[in-house]
Symmetry: C2
Subunit: 398 residues, 2 copies
C-alpha cells in the first residue's frame, strides 16, 4: 500500500544534494573524453569534453567476446543491478541480470551506461559546463538516439571491446539496440530489442509533449535555469511522470491492481483527495520520481525518443538500415503494450526479413503493459536466456 499524498504540489522539497552530485561525480565508473576525443552530435556540433558513467558486472573473457551492452529506458540509468546511490533501491533489472539470471554475469561481461543527456553521471543538462562551471541546462545541444549510441561506441573503444556479443534493452533501450545494429553492424553479433520501435509514433510524441509542457509550464522551471536559485519544477515533473506512468501500464493491469478500490477509506469523500488507490499510486509515482531525476534531462531524453526514426535516416526504407547485416536479431513485444504495440515490432521483423537478416520474434501474452519488460515475466526470461545461449554458442563463448 502506498502512502497517500494529498496533492503533488505539497511534496516536501527534499531533492538531495546527492542527486546533484551524481550528475558530475557519480558513484559508478566514469570514462572521461577530453579535448582530443569530441563527440560528434547529430545537431551538427561537437560536444567536448564529455563523460560516460557506467557499471560493469561479470568478467570480460580473454577473447573479449562475451560482452553484453544493456541500454536503459527513458528514466533508467547505469544501476541495472545493485543499490541505487540516490534512492537506495535495487537495480532496475535485478530479475534479469546477475549470477544464474537470464543475462548471466557468471558467463557474460555486462556493461550498462547512463545515456547521453541523462543525469546520473553521463554528460547531460544537469552536468557542469566546463566553460562556466554551472549546469548546461538548455545550453546543451539536443541529443538523439544515434548520439547516445555513438557515445556508447566510444565507451566500448575505451574498454577495448571490438564487438558486443549482444546489445539489448527495453523501450528506449530497444531503440538504442536497433540503432547499434544499424550504425555498427560489425560490432553487434546479436541484438535483442524488447518492447521497442524503429520510430516514435504520433501518439507517443503527443504523450511526451504533454510531459514537456507540464515541466515547462511550471514557473519553477524558469526557462531551464532552475539550478541558479536552487528551485526545481517538481510539480510539473511529477505531473509529467504521472501521465507517462499510465502509458507504461495497461487498462487491464490498472483494473487488476486497483480497479475502483478506495484508498484507506470506506466511502468516497466528495472531494479532491486521493479517494481511489489508483490516484494515490500515481501521486506516489510522481512524488518519488522528482527526487531522483532532473527535469531538463526529462526534456532531452523524451526529445531524443521523439526524433528517433530509423527508416527516415535510411532513405525512408527501414530495410535499408539493416542491409547485408550479419547480426542475429530477436525481437520481443507484449500483447498489452499500447505504447510500443506488437505492430511496431512486426514492422521491424518485416524489414529484417526484407534484408535477409537472421531474426526471431516473440509476442508475449501478458496484461502488464509496456512495463512487462521490467517485471517477472518467465516467458521473457526464457527467451532472453535461450537467445543468449544460442548467440554465445555461435560466437564460441564458453
Amino acid at each position: 500500500m502506498v502512502n497517500d499524498v494529498t496533492r503533488i504540489d505539497t511534496i516536501a522539497g527534499n531533492r538531495t544534494e546527492a542527486m546533484k552530485r551524481e550528475a558530475d561525480e557519480p558513484h559508478s565508473e566514469v570514462a572521461r573524453f577530453g579535448a582530443g576525443k569530441p563527440l560528434q552530435l547529430d545537431a551538427g556540433v561537437e560536444l567536448s569534453p564529455f563523460q560516460i558513467a557506467y557499471t560493469t558486472h561479470g568478467t570480460l573473457n580473454a577473447a573479449r567476446s562475451n560482452a553484453i551492452l544493456i541500454c536503459h529506458a527513458l528514466t533508467g540509468d547505469q544501476y541495472v543491478v545493485g543499490t541505487h546511490p540516490v534512492t537506495g533501491r535495487p537495480g532496475w533489472w535485478e530479475n534479469m541480470v546477475g549470477a544464474g539470471k537470464p543475462i548471466d554475469t557468471n558467463r557474460f561481461f555486462v556493461i550498462c551506461s547512463n545515456v547521453l543527456g541523462g543525469c546520473m553521471g553521463t554528460t547531460g543538462p544537469a552536468s557542469k559546463n566546463p566553460a562556466n562551471g554551472e549546469p548546461y541546462g538548455l545550453s546543451l545541444p539536443v541529443v538523439t538516439i544515434p548520439d547516445m549510441v555513438r557515445a556508447q561506441s566510444m565507451l566500448l573503444d575505451h574498454l577495448g571491446i571490438e564487438q558486443l556479443l549482444c546489445v539489448t534493452g527495453g523501450s528506449m533501450g530497444a531503440m538504442q539496440a536497433l540503432q547499434w545494429a544499424a550504425a555498427y553492424p560489425e560490432r553487434v553479433f546479436a541484438a535483442l530489442p524488447i518492447a521497442g520501435a524503429a520510430r516514435h509514433s504520433a501518439q507517443n510524441i503527443a504523450f511526451h509533449e504533454v510531459g514537456r509542457q507540464a515541466v515547462m509550464a511550471d514557473p519553477d522551471w524558469k526557462g531551464g535555469i532552475y539550478f541558479r536559485d536552487g528551485s526545481f519544477p517538481r510539480r510539473g515533473l511529477a505531473v509529467a511522470r504521472m501521465a507517462a506512468h499510465i502509458t507504461y501500464l495497461s487498462d487491464s493491469a490498472l483494473h487488476r491492481k486497483f480497479g475502483r478500490q478506495l484508498q484507506d477509506r470506506s466511502a468516497i469523500t466528495f472531494g479532491f483527495d486521493a479517494d481511489f488507490q489508483v490516484e494515490s499510486y500515481l501521486r506516489h509515482q510522481g512524488s518519488i520520481f522528482v527526487e531522483r531525476f532532473d527535469a531538463n534531462s526529462y526534456l532531452y531524453i523524451t526529445r531524443a525518443m521523439d526524433y528517433f526514426d530509423l527508416a527516415a535516416d535510411h532513405g525512408g526504407v527501414l530495410a535499408n538500415a539493416f542491409k547485408k547485416t550479419k547480426t542475429r536479431f530477436c525481437l520481443v513485444s507484449f500483447t498489452s503494450d499500447w505504447l510500443f504495440p506488437t505492430a511496431e515490432a512486426r514492422q521491424i521483423v518485416h524489414a529484417l526479413n526484407a534484408a535477409s537478416a537472421s531474426v526471431s520474434f516473440a509476442e508475449i501474452e501478458t496484461d502488464k503493459g509496456h512495463d512487462a519488460f521490467l517485471l517477472d515475466e518467465p516467458e521473457l526470461f526464457d527467451i532472453v536466456r535461450g537467445f543468449l545461449n544460442s548467440a554465445a554458442r555461435a560466437r564460441g563463448v564458453a
Copy 2:
C-alpha cells in the same frame, strides 16, 4: 493547419469577461429554482438556490411525447446547435441535430442543458454563491452524475414534460443517459447511450487525476480561489486538456492525421519548439480550451465521472439498476475507442439482457477513437435515425 504556439505558458491571457458572465447570466434559457425547490445532492447536502441553463430546438407536440434530452460530455454545454456565445463556433453536435438530421428537430423537441457543476450557466463552481456574491470555487459541494440527472429531472418538471421519448448522449452524456434510465425508468421511453460506460475505469480515473493535478499544481489555481485576483490556472488547465485530448483520439487516427509530419519546417530543429504537427495541434487544443472553460468546473466534472459506478449504487449488480425496466435501449461503441472500449458497452448489454430489457447494440468500425461520436460517422447517423424512428413509432409520435 493549426497555428504554432511556442509554449503553452506564453498563451496570451485573453480569458473573456463574456466567459465569466455566462456562468451566471448565460445567453441561453435559464430555469431558476429558489428556496422552495432545493436540489438534493449525493454529498448529503441541499443546493439552493440553483439554476439550469438550457436550449431547446423544435416544437413540443400537444401530447408532450416527442421530447429528446441530449446530455453533453465533460467539456460540452447546452449549445448543441447554433453559435456558441463565447467561442463563436458552431454547436458541438450540428451534424447530428437539426431539421432533417438524425435527431430531427422538425419532428422532435430537443432539450440540452448545461450539467450541474458546469460553467455555462448551470450552477457550478464559477457561479456566484448568493451567500457572499463571489464564485463558489471549491465551496460548492462535489456533485455526481446522479446529481446532474436529478437536476435535469427538475428541469423536465419545470418544462412540464412527464416522459422523454429518448435520452441520449456520448461519453459522460452516455453515463447520464444510463443514470436517467436507472433512476427514472418511467420517464424514459428510450435510451441511447453512445461511447459510454456504467462506471469509470481505473485507467480513466488515472487520466482524470493527472488533469486535476496539472490544474492544482499551477500556482495560479490558488487553492481554487483564482477569481479573487483575476488570475487563472491556464497553463495547468491547458496541460490537462492536452493529456485528455490524446485519449479522445486513437493511435491510428493520430498516425493518419499527423504521423511524424513536421510543422511548417523541413527538418527537425534540435529544440523544444513544436517540430511535429501533433505537438502544435495539442498546444492549440490546450490554448483554445482555457478561453472557454472554468478550471474548477474541470475538477468537479471529472470527479463526477470518476465517482460514477451504476452497479455499486445497486448492490454491486448492474442488472439491478434496470430491474423490470420498460425502457428500450440502444448502445453504441466504436472499435478504436480506448477510453470507453466496446467491452464496457457489452457489460451494460449483458446486464440489460439479464434484466430482460429491450436492447440493441452496435459496435461501429472506425479508427477515429472516442471522438467518433462527435464526428461524421454515417453508420452512427443511421443507427440514431433508425432507433428514434422506431421509438417514435412505438410511442405514437407522428
